[in-house]
């Protein structure tokens, strides 16, 4: 299967800064008030072929209407994703909480989740920021992988 790795390249690829440099094991360093560190610390993230249920690719399209006043430049993907990252905890459905890392959505950071499940059950879990650049970010947890990316304006 795997053999000894090739020599390390001194020059890092362009994507190096955008990937988590930690391993696939979740490490919780700060627990926000109200959050539960259950099923998170020390757990392994799963790959996209693992976890419960079948993996689906879902694409959602939304129309963002910016102020079209004179001289107002159109929104860029970078601006939208930046706003999305900063306000991500506020975009969750009622009853669900995303406890983001203090440093924000950045590669390698871990966030805790409190999810409302059918039957009144609450699920506590966490996600690793697997990848984050100016126009997308990817969260991976112990059950599935979620990619958030803006394609076009």
């Amino acid at each position: 299967m795997s053999t000894s790795p090739p020599p390390t390249n001194e020059e890092q690829p362009r994507d190096a800064a955008y990937w988590s440099s930690s391993g696939s094991s979740l490490k919780v360093t700060n627990i926000p008030s109200g959050a539960l560190n259950l099923n998170v610390d020390g757990r392994q993230v799963v790959g996209p072929l693992q976890g419960f249920g079948q993996m689906w690719q879902k694409i959602y399209r939304i129309r963002l209407k910016a102020d079209e006043g004179e001289g107002v430049p159109p929104l860029t993907a970078k601006e939208i994703i930046k706003t999305w990252k900063v306000n991500f905890p506020q975009f969750w459905p009622t009853g669900n909480r995303f406890y983001g890392p203090l440093t924000g959505i950045a590669p390698g950071e871990v966030a805790l989740l409190s999810l409302s499940m059918p039957g009144g059950i609450r699920l506590s879990t966490g996600v690793l920021v697997l990848y984050a650049d100016e126009e997308s970010f990817t969260l991976d947890d112990t059950t599935r992988t979620c990619v958030c990316r803006l394609d076009n304006l």
Binding site: M1, S2, T3, S4, P5, P6, P7, T8, N9, Q12, P13, R14, D15, A16, Y18, W19, S20, G23, S24, V45, V46, G47, P48, L49, Q50, M55, Q57, L130, Y131, D133, S136, F137, T138, D140, T145, V147, R149, D151, N152
Partner: protein
């Protein structure tokens, strides 16, 4: 819209083994190129698809998603996917995303062919 910054070359080294040499960036924009390469690599007798990442220059999470899509397609054909030529950085990415659980990684082309 940005264009795909990737080139892929297909080598059918045997009736059962095809190699796809990847040069450039693997991101969402590489989807058509990758799927066309697979269509060329896939024959009625192909059993193993080997991806050569020695020319890989950039890969984001969408690129990983593409590889997963390809892997699912290959698995449905009852074929196997191997890889070689990964730098230490991209080998880490494969392990981080657990893609290495599903795609066997080899140090070089010879090792991958021997295993196929």
């Amino acid at each position: 819209m940005p264009q795909a910054n990737v080139m892929m070359n297909v080598r059918r080294v045997s009736p059962t083994i095809s190699i796809i040499d990847i040069h450039g960036d693997v991101s969402a924009f590489a989807e058509n190129v990758l799927m066309e390469a697979y269509a060329e690599a896939n024959t009625p007798t192909t059993r193993t698809i080997i991806l050569n990442f020695a020319g890989l220059e950039y890969m984001n999470s969408s690129g990983i998603g593409l590889l997963v899509t390809l892997l699912i397609r290959i698995n449905r054909q009852k074929q196997r996917m191997y890889a070689f030529g990964l730098s230490e950085h991209y080998r880490h990415i494969f392990e981080l995303t657990r893609l290495s659980d599903a795609i066997k990684i080899y140090e070089n082309e010879s090792a991958a062919l021997s295993a196929a």
